[in-house]
Assembly symmetry: C2
Homo-oligomer: 342 residues x 2
DNA sequence: CTGAAAGCGCTTACAG
DNA sequence: CTGAAAGCGCTTACAG
């Protein structure tokens, strides 16, 4: 009754539960139960309410529900990039694990920026999320402080944490970088270069792996590393490959820290008439769709990115449900795909 | 005071505006104003409130604000795919136009499914969004009905509407399909094939453009069309190219409805030893980053996807602000990039 | 420039 | 199986 008067309207003007209840001839809270816990209500009541909902075109007000129940059913997901197919696969995994309807995903793109991460988090925290999924282990002090103060469960994706204070799902970027480098060494390559961009923590860990493997084999040489903070693109891969060939003419293999750069490196060599792998071998990281199909096909590390998203979301859902997860650090491994380019 | 008693707690346990106001020694609504309309408050008051906010680590409760103000500050964005770089560029444009903080983007991936679109919309409508951005013009009757009933402003992206009942920002998929086909005809190709996948409305419009141009030139031949509903991938492009070569051995050019398929088609030809463009020309659509760099580089249509997102979001913001936009149909055009593959 | 009251639309205990 | 009351944490008019 209250809203049907001629007083000033404040709400959205939409159909409310109150109107549904009136139409169905039940109390407002019976109507509420019929919708959210139908097993607690008689079938006759449930049907009456459902009819009223259909007739009135009732759409629940999520803000009111969130406020009353102190539960947002929101999960925040922060990724460093959406133009990188790696993270869209992670999102697919998350979406599939969470399922439709129950939770709302709030997806933020940090563009690899700490400042952006902080900004997004401060905004998303206003939604009182039930859980948070992050794509990195390292955070600015501000972000760490906000996360701690919020007391919201957090799971980190992609790399693995050193300890189990932080929940993490992924694989060892260090080991993967080492594995690719050892593979090239075992193949007989000696002057193995490393091309890295963006220089985010995952790239740096892969570079660490490269370095450790080169040192163990007595092949380390600072000049073999070409690293720049720019975003990884095909164009940059081509440019850095050119720079590598100029500065280290005797380089016989190049490990690119991701497939985009490797594709650019291959295209550059093709334009220069340099044969792959006869004159120079090239490898990548991530196994993007093009890598298996291009000519020559690209040797790379196949990373379980969809699985990472899926398992991280599953772990988070356990935490949200108040269960103590059996594993707080889930290593999903990686697979080296040997192809024509090495 | 109310919450500090020993009664059963119902809320989230977080700091509230009430606590901030108490700490600052002002009323709850003065505190509210100090945060959202600081110009209406004395500087001394503003500073006191800001200090209290900092000391208590206050984070506003968005659900409460949305409920009280009947404004969600949410914009819903529905895209058909995130693994397609076209739509991540659209999202970037939207994000830049909307700016940080003011609006929250609710991003949904329909995976090219009407059922998913309906499901997502029904859930997102519960958040009472201020506006909706859609990636298509055609919708199921259920979706059309939900949109109409919600009375939320909607802008459609990518293709252009036939009339101005619907607000749309994009370019003519038909014209673009026609332009590429005419270009190939003008180049002297006669047996021009068309490879299409997904068969979403944009692909079908491009195919229409191809067909009209071929008919106008007296070159139409049903057998030149290879179209399947599967998702566009490089692998599928390679497969469909093989099918095309088998069924139409005298084909001299192939217009692929997007770059992913074109890349696959090129890789397939390279593995078969077929020279491009000498034996067969190949063109794509969208101008993905790899297209300019691969060997041979790909002739394609450069589409203004970032701009589409930016302009569509700008238009939506005007509608939300209650302004009558000067243009309800914004044509951003397209550019044909001639490269080595044709 | 500041405040007391009412209200947004739901859910949560508590009764019956 | 059903209901009356209180409350979630804010903002909106309305006064002063």
């Amino acid at each position: 009754m209250s809203r049907s008067g001629s007083g000033k309207a404040r709400g959205t003007g939409r159909t409310t539960l109150e109107q549904v209840a009136a139409q169905a001839g039940v109390s407002i809270m019976t109507a509420s139960r019929a919708l959210s816990q139908p097993q607690l209500v008689s079938e006759a009541t449930r049907i009456k309410v459902e009819q009223a909902v259909a007739e009135l075109g009732y759409v629940p007000n999520r803000a009111a529900r969130a406020l009353a129940s102190a539960q947002s059913h929101v999960i925040v997901v922060l990724v460093p990039s959406l133009s990188n197919l790696v993270f869209t696969a992670v999102l697919d995994g998350i979406q599939d694990a969470v399922g439709p309807g129950r939770y709302q995903l709030l997806i933020g793109n940090t563009h690899y920026s700490d400042a952006q991460e902080e900004k997004l988090l401060s905004i998303y925290l206003q939604s009182n999320p039930d859980g948070i999924l992050l794509s990195s282990l390292a955070h600015s002090p501000q972000v760490a402080q906000m996360l701690a103060a919020s007391k919201v469960p957090v799971v980190s994706m992609m790399d693995l944490a050193d300890n189990t204070d932080v929940l993490s799902v992924g694989f060892s970027q260090l080991d993967a970088g080492m594995a690719m480098t050892r593979y090239l060494i075992d193949k007989g390559y000696r002057r193995i270069g490393f091309i890295g961009a963006q220089l985010d923590e995952r790239t740096l860990r892969r570079a660490d792996g490269y370095r450790q493997a080169m040192q163990a084999a007595g092949l380390a040489d600072q000049r073999l590393e070409v690293m720049v903070p720019d975003s990884s693109t095909i164009a940059l891969g081509a440019e850095l490959m050119g720079r590598m060939l100029d500065s280290v003419p005797d380089v016989d293999a190049v490990f690119c820290c991701n497939d985009d750069l490797a594709h650019g490196a291959i295209f550059h060599c093709q334009r220069q008439g340099i044969r792959i792998p006869e004159q120079i071998a090239i490898s990548g990281f991530n196994d993007l769709p093009a890598s298996a199909w291009m000519m020559p096909s690209l040797t790379t590390i196949d990373t379980p990115r969809y699985q990472v998203g899926y398992e991280a979301a599953s772990l988070l859902l356990q935490l949200i449900a108040g269960k103590e997860p059996e594993r707080r650090r889930i290593d999903l491994g990686f697979t080296l795909r040997e192809r024509e380019s090495t």
